[in-house]
Symmetry: D2
Subunit: 369 residues, 4 copies
């Protein structure tokens, strides 16, 4: 990695929860260098250390403490090769589009473009093949783009479930149905986010829009990217082998780490045994890791043998939260196999995914220098 | 109720978590009078106020503060018509049997006799009809009994799910499959129970034996009690219409109230709509309430309209925790209908069930004076 | 109480946290009848059940569910004898003044008038004698008032500490210094209030303005109300016997109930013994209870003997939270005596205080019919 | 450090909470090498990975996973230069003595020898000068020892307060009185330790023996080590300048990190200003750091400027928890100055202190090779 060239990067929404994570991760990155920080007009003009209400457990990296926050305008970021977006959905749509038009490569954690038919929705441990739609995104844009594009990553709870599902489909062919019950951490709600009076000694069995996101995004991510008769690529939403997904989402009094109880039915009969499933999960490797993305985890899926794991407090920081933990793989009396997934919602479920996506794009030459 | 005669009752395991609940509830009961308290040899001989490490939010009832704790020996309870057992499973087997042999009516919260083919496993809001096996239990006992018998109530997480399932089967016929993911309160683990280091800011996705209990007990409770060719009654374990149940149990940092995400598939095609399910749940009434059991709730199932309810902290104490709350009734993309259940694990999930069972037995003349 | 006449009351800020408490308490009051509910323009015109995001553990009282919420304008409340204010401080100043001018008796939980030299700051278990300034408040008002006045109650953390301090001063004469460290519940911060990300698995050792409130309000409450040379009554701020108070305030992950570690030094030498202090606290009775205020607790101060009490979760609801709990009375190596106080911040620390104040005013004829 | 020789070390009580911390820290130590692990007979003979119920957030270090656990008998540890003890108090007395007699250097986190007049009680950021009593401890032992000795570190809550007090005494001379209210994390109670039912949504205002430890240990640590007329060194317990300490200890629902509200009165009049105190704290450096102990923190006391810090969740892991955080330095109306301290109870409050003590002893030649 020593002769790897460096890339200047910008961070949009730098004072928010996801923005703070981007900063904490990028401050020590081998080839991304934080060059510009963007936030709302209220913060613009202040040194980052004054503008931010820093809530991370590590101190503010010294490289950004005195960096002056900019408004989220492309001119301020023109020296950047890449822009990471941790913007809120209510402003992300327009700002990310402005940056794309300004020929910047945008890696977004926001939901706004996830359903766009030309924007890939990439969980970097799963479907980096979907990067192949970028040229079409640029060509069909009006005006056509040379370097600018948008790549999104998935919702935090979707991320946790698609990684093991991808591993299982790779090993055993299509999954036919999947039931998911999530127990999601409060950090998934941003800051100030969930009021303490709502969640201490409590469960809230509802998160607005979350079940729909899991049910829809999973299909786009696990589905193929097919060339149609018109010569255009299109996401097939897993329709070749219809996949029925039912999600129930709960907010729980956990700070970080989404736990999900998942049960699946395979198309193939007989279905694989729990032991075969365990091995398939453990052996699954992402292309991102194989090609050398520095933030990609060596163990894409870590399979726990202890009967009571994974647990968010003990397992969420393994590999800096970049992988996914699975445990309790066993037979299901209604579908075929059930298991427990843990994914760190603020790491692989958010900023880490964007960063691995950008690493992949750099290593594959998708981002121009 | 004014001319209702009074019944002297004893409580076994009176210093434990469930025992304390029995006392708190029975101290204000319209026709049960606490007469004797049993605990281990270590506590025996002390006034209850000294023997107990009282952990309830209400003060110790004055009627028991000076009552001297007894060893759990039938002679000490011979003036009692009824004995409630909150004993731990490691001692409940022998002690409850000794009390039955001594011709006492035992209403037990322990698991030991739940799988006994002659002992009914009764959730009083569901299957009071199973009391009809009591004469057979007495007759086949060696030696045969006149008044002694054992009735058990269900595991706390089973209780939450069988009430709405019973309501649905009454309205729409048999359920074919059922997926359950529980989020169970720490009080379900007794005292000292769950160490705080294990559960603060955490989820433990495993509770020993719990999934098996839900999967097995539900079948006994919802199944029939059929007369065989040999003239003997037997629990049919819902085998006339096989019911597949798959449970995933989690411990969560909630003090009281088990929340369960449930999804069901009906035998009948097409299945009922969410609105029909809501109405069936809301209209469901227990025989225990109908015949006048004073602790039976008026609303057996309370159906919430708000999208984010039930929540354990807000809803667990409704009707003193004697009913069950259901919310978020909606279609399931994998099975037919899904919803959220909340049941107070220390009320209807434990002591309250035993008490309603005893009230029912009194009102029906099953307990002799 | 049967021939007690009824009084129509209004509640300002009815949809807020304190307003909800007023409603829950007043819905079952022996002589106050909820007649009008006031809230912001956004809520006005809606039935209360629709306007409120009800967060109490008891269901909305049926008597208010359909009551249409009004704007906080005196004309809408003119049939009320009494108005309770749970308004936020940013609007309470003007609105409460408008109601006073309209000749309504205002019992306010807001801080705006607590430092007004003519408005009494009354903790009803302590200084009901300060009601005697009301005629002066009315006479000096411009224009002079016949019936309108404002009475405030104290900040929730002040309330907890002044009750035992008053008991000690009554028994042993003036206290000279007092050190207080609070551990305050999240409900003291209102709703949405404290973000869960700030307080789960955490302590925040700072609450804006809180230490100043305790240090100032305690002096006004425990001080005298002296007649000056100009014939006017004035609060002496305990200056006859200067009292130095030092408070350190912390927010802790507890839902309800403020715990405070208090240490005091008496003027009198030698100081009383821990046993004498215990007795003085236990024997202390409020005038509010003596004259028959129905919400005043029988045990003004409940003194715990167990070494590890009071605890917020176990003790905050004793007497519906209307009294104060004290425990661990023992010698202090720096001052004289130290102990632990628990007060329910949403009961005696807020709505219950206002209600007892109003009951007192009614029973004493200070409120005209 | 490259030519630093390596020292084999043993860990007693290796499967317990403190033992696990020792292992996590020592597995990456520059000159200590884990050589032997001791635990109870129940664990002895098993590979560590099987014997332990590992509860750390990092995986078990690979160097110990297969290491076979030994009984706590000196013969098993005779190749070790140093033994760290995380033993429970009920067995630590005899075992540590056996190891001392066997001429091993014992660095103990247990309380058993803290009050021994020949055993130093050393918080390594404060009183490393007390190591000078070791020769006397060895000489007066029967039989006299060549290499064996015991050094203890302080109770976790004592540690937090003595560091800033030492800094203040160094800068401003003796402190006369000190009031301390602690809010202590559950991890201070070991495992299983505090039951979740006791501490969720709760405060327990009592920790057995804790207040006495703070009041006594602080005097030994901050006091001098004087040569008497008999030629023997003795701890003076700060009696030259009597120091009155009053502690109130509370258990709070925080996982790690003890927060303490401290108020002090200096002997010197006038007392230092808050700004002078801030500077003295910030400038304080430990001898352990100066001489190069690798685990000693660069910032012995980190002084926060933000009004609401330190907070346990955000600040406990700064410098791996080896330093102490102070914030809110301000005047006290009763004593002189008050402030908030945060110390990581499982790091500098336990294992880290023992390790720095051992590093110091190695660098000073107190431990023989």
């Amino acid at each position: 990695m020593t002769n790897q060239r460096q890339y200047k990067v910008g961070i949009l929404g730098a004072t928010g929860t996801v923005g703070q994570r981007f900063i904490a991760l990028l401050a020590e990155h081998p080839f991304f260098v934080i060059h510009a920080l963007g936030a709302s007009a209220r913060s613009a003009g202040k040194p980052y250390g004054k503008a931010v209400n820093w809530k991370q457990t590590k101190p503010i990296p010294s490289v950004v403490r005195e960096l002056v926050v900019q408004e989220c305008i492309p001119e301020r970021f023109k020296e950047c090769a890449i822009v990471f977006s941790g913007l809120d959905a209510d402003v992300a749509g327009d700002i990310e589009q402005a940056f794309r038009v300004a020929e910047l490569a945008v890696f977004s954690n926001a939901k706004n473009y996830r359903r766009d038919p030309h924007v890939p929705l990439i969980v970097p441990l799963v479907n980096t093949s979907h990067f192949s739609i970028i040229p079409q995104q640029q060509r069909l844009h009006s005006p056509p783009l040379q370097k600018g594009f948008i790549v999104t990553n998935a919702n935090c709870s979707t991320t946790g479930v698609v990684v093991p599902l991808a591993a299982l489909e790779r090993a055993f062919g299509p999954i036919e149905s999947c039931m998911i019950t999530t127990m999601q951490a409060i950090s998934g709600g941003g800051y100030p986010g969930v009021p303490s009076l709502d969640i201490m000694d409590n469960i809230v069995p509802y998160i607005s829009g979350e079940e729909e996101k899991i049910e829809w995004e999973t299909l786009k991510i696990l589905g193929g990217l097919a060339q149609g008769d018109d010569g255009l690529k299109a996401f097939d939403m897993h329709t070749k082998q219809p996949l029925r997904i039912s999600a129930s989402c709960n907010r729980v009094p956990v700070i970080e780490g989404h736990t999900e109880c998942v049960s699946v039915r395979f198309a193939r009969r007989p279905p694989p045994s729990p032991q075969q499933v365990r091995e398939a999960l453990q052996n699954y490797t992402s292309e991102a890791y194989t090609i050398g993305c520095p933030s990609a985890p060596r163990h894409t899926v870590f399979v726990h043998e202890e009967v009571d794991r994974p647990q968010p407090r003990l397992d969420r920081d393994y590999q800096l939260g970049a992988g996914v933990s699975v445990g309790r793989v066993r037979q299901c009396r209604v579908l075929d196999i059930k298991f427990v997934v843990l994914a760190n919602n603020v790491a692989i479920g958010a900023a880490t995914s964007s960063i691995i996506n950008a690493e992949y794009a750099v290593l594959k030459g998708i981002v121009s220098a």
